[in-house]
Symmetry: C2
Subunit: 332 residues, 2 copies
């Protein structure tokens, strides 16, 4: 009897322990936003609970749960340079043999010499010239293939990681968390819409129709008899600053409930979002972690955050301190 009991107890014990471990594991696995900590995490979860709990005063139906995310510096790193600019520089180098005049034409000559500072001395105009020269002329299909191929081989200059691994783990969790609470997640980036679409679904879970970005004009034509969309060297839309609410309206037709950015280029998106009726949440990611990522704000040429730091708190926006509020920065 004792023996039986022991054997039985032992079996039950093992089952119980296994069961408890399972429950514990499930609890741990289901613990939301595991890479977040502190007041930012609490504030996000309290907001989401408040707008998604049935019967809550601030309840928002799923069709209106729209969350808009900037990309550069918000979902992935933008230092030492926007990833798309690095792609454009590599394209300049790859295309140079067919463009001998570039050796003596700025800003291409500086790019070819590897002097990126000189290449960008002309500011946005220089970058736009380079983007037009490297992003236009092909069909949309060819451009997509070029982006995919480049992302497959290119590595970040200081970390050696693939760029698609330079994404922020806490933001991947936030995207998942919001979708699990019925939100549709959108990218609203100053970067090129066609530069993002080939990879953001796999990396962020954001499908192409939920990507808003800057664009050049495209033209429909038959190329060798094949219906094609050809990319023209002409700006169609700049999805930055006051352009972000315009892009949001053009693509979504509804005001977001949550907007997340990291620079003054996102100011109007957060302003437009949080000016809506009912509960709204604006979030700014503040790059404070020189050890694990980069620390920059008011004086940075890339991702400058100045007005947002001054006015954000008074507007009720959540300022996320990357160093304090994130347990991890990049995925393992």
């Amino acid at each position: 009897m004792y023996k039986y009991y022991t054997a039985y107890g032992s079996a039950v014990g093992r089952l119980l322990v296994a069961g408890l471990l399972c429950v514990l594991a499930a609890t741990v696995a289901a613990e939301p936003l595991p890479s977040w900590r502190g007041a930012s995490r609490d504030a996000i979860m309290a907001f989401v609970d408040g707008v998604t709990s049935p019967g809550a005063a601030q309840f928002i139906p799923p069709a209106r749960r729209i969350a808009a995310f900037d990309n550069d510096g918000t979902l992935w790193a933008e230092q030492p340079m926007y990833v798309q600019a690095l792609y454009a520089f590599d394209r300049v180098r790859a295309m140079a043999p067919q463009r001998p005049q570039w050796k003596s034409t700025e800003p291409y000559a500086s790019v070819l010499r590897g002097d990126l500072e000189a290449a960008l001395a002309g500011g946005e105009k220089s970058l736009l010239d380079i983007v037009m020269a490297t992003h236009a002329g092909t069909t949309t299909t060819q451009f997509e293939a070029s982006v995919v191929q480049w992302l497959d081989s290119a590595r970040h200059p200081t970390t050696g990681r693939r760029y698609t691994r330079m994404v922020y783990q806490p933001m991947l969790e936030l995207l998942d968390y919001l979708r699990a609470h019925g939100f549709s997640t959108w990218i609203v980036s100053g970067g090129g819409i066609e530069f993002m679409r080939p990879w953001v679904e796999q990396v962020y879970g954001v499908p192409p129709q939920q990507v808003i970005g800057s664009s050049i004009k495209t033209q429909y034509e038959l190329r060798d008899g094949v219906p094609s969309l050809v990319r023209l060297p002409e700006v169609n839309f700049i999805d930055d600053k006051a352009g972000k609410p315009v892009g949001i309206n053009q693509h979504i037709g509804r005001r977001p409930v949550i907007a997340v950015g990291n620079s003054d280029g996102d100011f109007q998106m957060l302003e437009w979002t949080t000016a809506g009726e009912g509960a709204r949440l604006g979030i700014l990611i503040h790059h404070t972690d020189a050890g694990r990522e980069w620390a920059y704000d008011r004086e940075s040429h890339i991702g400058r955050l100045d007005r947002g730091l001054d006015e954000g708190p008074g507007r009720g926006w959540l300022i996320v301190d990357m160093k304090k509020d994130w347990k991890t920065v990049f995925p393992e």
Copy 2:
């Protein structure tokens, strides 16, 4: 025993009859596309079965099941004039007291005299002038309110119906049928994106983010301190003819599997769609029913269908004969 059996049998019988009736009712209710008949209905259902049945050779995963619908003449009537033009004419009349110069300025003077033929004698240029004068200057919020208010009071000139009841019952069923098979349904119209968004979700089940259309430029600004999007009298995008594939790419970023239109303005959308790899379906609604709706095609100024009739069948597009293929046209 017999009595018991009878009572039992009777109860069982009633349950069985009730059950059968339920099953029958459910079967009848679930019979797809009830307002369609004949070869068009068969072709649509065969195509949808072929791309949505697991294991089928032509199977397409839900994320890629995109169906694009023209609006004017495809989802609702466009005779004797595009509904949006009738809205613009009514706006001219409503705004005229504040625009005394319109009494002596074309095309407004003709609109105010009720001579719409003269008003549109200048062709697309006249219509564009009228649209700019009546669709710009307000905020997006004000414009939406104006459209909603107008649709609430306006009636179709020959049927006396609300315009939102001038939609085609078979197309409502087709939209539902495709969504029930995992398709996302999109509107790709030459009409104004902001003119459609206020009502298409309720009427067609298409949410604002799945509406693609022509647009004027908007500008983000603070109006009396309120963040606003102001509509400018400047064309942003014309979503017609070769513009439709461009608009589809801009908004969806993927090629549709199904495209449905009714005029040569939809030709390139069907061409682009059906040039994609794998199974694709192009559908043209041919207005052949002078009794229940209107009969028009090659010679019509509104919804001209000429090239599509010539080339569509050879391209494998389905030409829907409204008179033969639709049991009903408008909802009861």
